[in-house]
Point group: C2
Chain length 229, copies 2
């Protein structure tokens, strides 16, 4: 993990790159000023010459992710004109999603930053250009931006996820817990049972997020297409 290299001097770019690597490997909680400095082979206080404190580091990290999205979107063909605005946005959002899948900590970071990373504005400006050139009014385009929300950045807010995603090895305890829940939650229990037992279904298992993401995305795109006409 250690990326110490006395040759190249410390810089904002090098610090942020190492921060991304550290967050990927051990998560945001491991990203302390002292720890990051250690990874860079430097003292914690040296970071303050290149970054304006911890908050500035997190802002820089968010900006870096948005930059990665721009690169990914650039590789996908998203600048179709006129009628196929839906295809363009769909490709764009799915490209953004691939960046999020590489950096599982990024959704929570982007969602919790008190100030929006500046690159996000330019990103949404591009989406808006697509909508306007497809004939959307400013009113409807405005509402579309809000309706997309974080979908445009490739993620949905996971407010409903399995109880212990963080690796619960207490299988018996989990099973007992689930049994106790079943009585209190008859409909959810039935749904899980029904959804998990159809072997012909490519969305098999509990919550294939990619499929859900695309389902919601298409629901919104279709609804907006109808509102546009």
């Amino acid at each position: 993990m250690r990326t110490k290299n006395p040759r190249e001097p410390l810089s904002r770019e090098r610090a942020l790159a190492t921060a991304v690597t550290l967050a990927d490997a051990e998560g945001i909680p491991a990203l302390t000023m002292r720890r990051l400095a250690a990874e860079l082979g430097v003292e914690a206080m040296s970071l303050y010459h290149h970054l304006p404190g911890k908050e500035g580091l997190l802002d820089g990290l968010a900006d870096t992710v948005v930059g990665e999205i721009d690169v990914a979107v650039g590789r996908a063909a998203v600048t179709g004109t006129g009628g196929d605005w839906r295809t363009g946005l769909r490709r764009r959002f799915l490209a953004a999603r691939e960046v999020m899948l590489r950096h599982p900590w990024a959704p929570a970071l982007l969602g919790s930053r008190p100030t929006i990373p500046t690159g996000v504005y330019a990103y949404y400006d591009g989406i808006l250009a697509t909508l306007l050139s497809a004939g959307f009014s400013h009113r409807l385009a405005h509402r579309a931006l809000h309706a997309f929300g974080s979908l445009a950045l490739g993620f949905t807010q996971e407010v409903f996820r399995p109880a212990r995603a963080g690796g619960n090895t207490d299988v018996d305890g989990a099973a007992a817990e689930l049994a106790a829940m079943a009585e209190a939650l008859p409909h959810l229990t039935a749904m899980v049972a029904a959804e998990a037992h159809d072997p012909a279904d490519p969305t098999l298992g509990w919550c294939d997020s990619q499929v859900e993401f695309e389902f919601t995305l298409d629901l919104l795109l279709d609804g907006l297409e109808r509102a546009r006409r």
Copy 2:
């Protein structure tokens, strides 16, 4: 603010109630174990007899909010049967939203908790019951739950919000910043100008969140109604 009262002994309920009050008044960052203890007129370590540490405190806080949602939803009429599933869910989500507006810190807290508050499952089970009794398949109901996401709890993820919501008094600096942005963001600038200048429009101003919330909600409800048939 101090709620010290030697008469009633410290308890989990009293600690959580004071935590909610403290978070409402000064935000989640002010909610430290030491500070909460001080508000309760007690030493920080006493809290550990009633709450399993800081994470447990935050979990308890999230549970408390979900409990408030249940109360608010109970007051609204949401148990319509058969055909008016849309009206029922709409009332329910808007009732939940009122709780969120009372506790501005709650969306971020619910979105960032590593483990889901237990009350959330029961809440979603109720939503699912509505969908199933309206004739939804398990498949479509499952997708509907994911499509709603945090909308069901009364909030959307604010990934696109004004630059300095936290009270920027540097008006000139903000204006200059905006002017510099305008050149780089032609479409967004035009949209803001268009959206802000229609005096007949009840969504006047930059981002009436309530209207946007309801627009997205109806977009999803209409799309699901179409998918259901």
